[in-house]
Symmetry: C2
Subunit: 519 residues, 2 copies
């Protein structure tokens, strides 16, 4: 039974004011219950107990934290029918997507649990003393990673499970030893509450300290701003708009003690099609391109919002791409705000001089988006910033290039991206193109489309600004844990005062770097 | 023959205005030559060629970069007599320190060269495809670290070699594949020029692209500010004051594209002495404490500026500590500005109510500092922020505590530090104290003093703000390279389009994580 009330550790917030509710984006109808905003006292209490919990939680062994993460996964799975009943109503996403995203969420939690059990992620390093070294003795020094402190996590609208309450930010922060204060997204309060119950139950089942997890409901931005500015918080995870992410970055940078913000924000994920990829392959390429563009109503961070294609020889591709995409019916977007932004975005493109509209469907389906395709020349693209702004949803711009030099110039022109893709032949000389694209993006892809983000050790779901706030990070895959960690050195420590991970006898049996050699 | 002119790649800046010169801090006399400020055109040109050099330099193999770093080390050693002739004149540091610091500098360069040769620092990860996986195929994905782009490095006054032109920031940035634009420190232009010649010569000897290194002379702050704000620059390394570091952080955070700043800024390096460390050991402890406090005229970032000692039972320690420290003669500081700040700092402490002055020597030696020792109670310390401000130089404050709880409260009270130290007995129960101190500092030390920073894989010379701008980083040791790197994923790439480090046959023979297993 949903209540719309915050989770302040083990307690439920009494709240004060109604700050909204779930809304069915397919018809605009309000869903029960009302969401109740956390009071400022409740917010401060959640911060206080997160700080207190950090003392206890960071001392938990990897095995204990792994047990906690696995219990969260199990408890989420136990609520799958609640999730698939509520999720589609408040997100517009179909049941199958809810089931798939639940699997991804629980898979991520278990991936981090496995990482904790294995232990080498800690980067344990031991340099033993050399008392006889001249001219000065060498001291005994050992280091390993530890958690930064309480982390604020903002739920994303486009992944109400996998990038939300128990999503990758929360899973990686908890794995790193950091308590989490989640700021719920106003668009899916029901899913936030269902998953928060699963986490709170797991924390109690596995003897985790109160405050290791809280979930705050709020209207507007003030609670999020308060949390990011709070001295108890030591890092931030966010997935959302460039405007929202940059606002959090600016708050964090202006604190008396600045803290890192890991915000995944804005990408148009350019796809460069080389002449060699066309010809006989044009039709299958167009089919795949249209599928990637319209998958999930174009609401993925890795949606291909930009195609670079040769100005000659791409007619078959373009024709087929438009034809197939035109057949995709309008579909409900995540919420009304996103749908309005999408419509504003495509009509803005439609209104640009020297931009051809290849596909723009008028329809009156409530809250829904129909795909749109535009075309411009390289010269037009590089002279009009509107053309390289993100339009979140199933819209794309085809930019035509005359030759390989013009393609390289396009690659140089684009901002930082989550992904860039190249379609061509294995024998094409693409070394220079790659050397431009891998400076601009976190993931470079050959002959595949960018949608579909594998959760694995080598995934970089990040990229230079404005794709993310910090191009040195990823929000997906095992490397995501490093966002919330720092190394600490222990010098000349008695064995028993050292963390078990750094003791001589290696009681946990983890991989370590000992006097410069992996052991 | 020194010229006082900037190094703009392979050219020497013509400059425009005289912006100062070296000054002998022991007598205030001006040293030849005048320093000539880089013009704004020269600054911009250095930035342009750094950006161009990045394209070429980042593609150099680890072995090629290692050869470059080793050539720099060799070329610096070839200039050792120039260094020891000039360095003491402009820094006040003795010849022995110049020789030692040169060894440290060349040692760091060779350490990073070895790291490049070994290759596992790249964190190469390979996850091979599983085309038959259900419900969706698994793609081939591989990742490794790469350099961020050109890095701005600011020379430190207190290490004119090891944290300056070819110091740890430059060595780690070059190792990461990043060109470096160094902003010289006004206090040691001669050493900057000698070392810059060594680097430029090495770049030419090893066929590195022009622009991989530049050195800018300037007066005031404007060139430094310009460089940090420049779009060509992708990260900053700095060692200096909190005020200076924070100013650079704020500039970097306000850029259209914010960039990371790694600033090592301010630490007082508290030393907690437990009752068990006193008694028979008081005298030897006092001797070591006095040695650490006065080493190098107290001008190390890890100088112990704060002692927590028991209010009872520490008389013998305190008496001996003061007695020994009183015997240390005034000595020349690095430059007049530091000396003035030191004097202001100690007289400010002397003027605080409820602070006892145990040692304050009046002297009239030009540009020199005499050690100073003050004492206050815990209650006074936690109620007066002046007492926990850094006084750079051989001054320290003894804070007396009544019991272990009061010591824990002191540990909780302090800001982020580079180091914290505990002196006690191996059987003392220090678990809780450690759990406070390792949240507050980058390195926790048992029964040793914090001065002396070993350059090795497990060294963390960093710490939570305000010790550094980013407590997740270190400026000393092999982990320093990670400040200037990001991971990039390559998906579904043809073998020959992959970097050699990620190709199936592992032509470089480096350690990699393949399908989750270290190989």
């Amino acid at each position: 039974m949903l209540t719309g009330k915050s989770f302040i550790g083990n307690s439920r917030g009494a709240g004060s004011d109604i700050c909204g509710s779930g809304i069915n984006p397919a018809n605009g109808e309000k869903l029960s219950p009302d969401t109740i905003a956390a009071t400022s006292q409740e917010v401060q209490y959640a911060l206080n107990i997160a700080e207190e919990a950090f003392f206890v939680y960071r001392q938990k062994s990897g095995a204990e934290k792994a047990t906690f993460l696995r219990a969260i996964a199990t408890n989420i799975e136990a609520r799958i029918e609640e999730i698939v009943a509520r999720g589609p109503l408040e997100s517009g996403l179909p049941e199958g997507r809810m089931r798939g995203e639940t699997g991804r969420t629980t898979g991520q939690l278990r991936m981090f649990a496995d990482l904790l059990d294995e232990g080498s992620w800690l980067d344990a390093r031991i340099d033993t003393a050399q008392p006889d070294r001249a001219p000065i003795p060498k001291v005994d020094l050992r280091s390993m990673l530890t958690g930064l402190g309480p982390v604020a996590v903002f739920c994303a609208s486009n992944f109400p499970l996998a990038f939300s309450t128990a999503g990758g930010d929360t899973a990686s922060a908890l794995a790193a030893g950091c308590p989490v204060v989640v700021v719920a997204h106003s668009a899916h309060p029901g899913l936030a509450e269902i998953v928060a119950e699963a986490i709170t139950e797991a924390a109690n089942q596995t003897d985790m300290p109160e405050g290791v997890f809280s979930l705050l409901f709020s209207g507007g931005y003030s609670v999020g701003q308060t949390v990011v500015a709070a001295p108890e918080i030591k890092a931030v995870g966010f997935t959302g708009s460039l405007k929202g992410g940059r606002a959090l970055m600016d708050i964090a940078a202006a604190r008396p003690e600045p803290i890192p913000v890991f915000a995944e924000m804005s990408a148009i994920n350019p796809v460069a099609i080389l002449p060699s990829a066309l010809g006989d392959n044009s039709e299958s390429l167009a089919t795949a391109a249209s599928g990637s563009l319209t998958l999930g109503v174009g609401q993925f961070c890795t949606n291909p919002g930009l195609f670079f294609i040769p100005s000659e020889g791409a007619e078959a591709f373009t024709e087929k791409f438009v034809e197939l995409t035109k057949q995709v019916a309008p579909a409900t977007m995540l919420h009304g705000g996103i749908c309005d932004s999408y419509k504003n975005g495509i009509y803005a493109l439609n209104d640009q001089p020297n931009v051809e509209t290849l596909l723009l469907v008028e329809h009156d389906q409530f809250g829904a988006a129909a795909p749109a395709i535009f075309r411009a020349t390289t010269q037009e693209f590089v002279s009009n910033k509107v053309l390289s702004s993100e339009v979140f949803g199933p819209a794309t711009l085809i930019v035509t290039y005359q030759d390989h030099d013009e393609l390289l110039a396009l690659a140089e022109y684009i901002d930082g991206q989550l992904t860039t893709s190249i379609f061509g032949n294995e024998t094409d000389d693409i070394a220079e193109l790659i050397s431009v694209l891998d400076r601009k993006s976190g993931r470079v892809i050959f002959n595949q489309f960018p949608t579909g983000v594998e959760v694995c050790p080598s995934m970089v779901h990040g990229g230079p600004y404005p794709a993310t706030s910090d191009g040195r990070s990823t929000s997906v895959g095992t490397m995501a844990i490093f966002r919330y960690t720092r190394s600490v050195s222990y010098q000349n420590f008695p064995q028993l005062a050292l963390p078990a991970e750094l003791q001589d006898q290696n009681p946990l049996g983890i991989k370590r770097l000992v006097n410069g050699k992996s052991e």
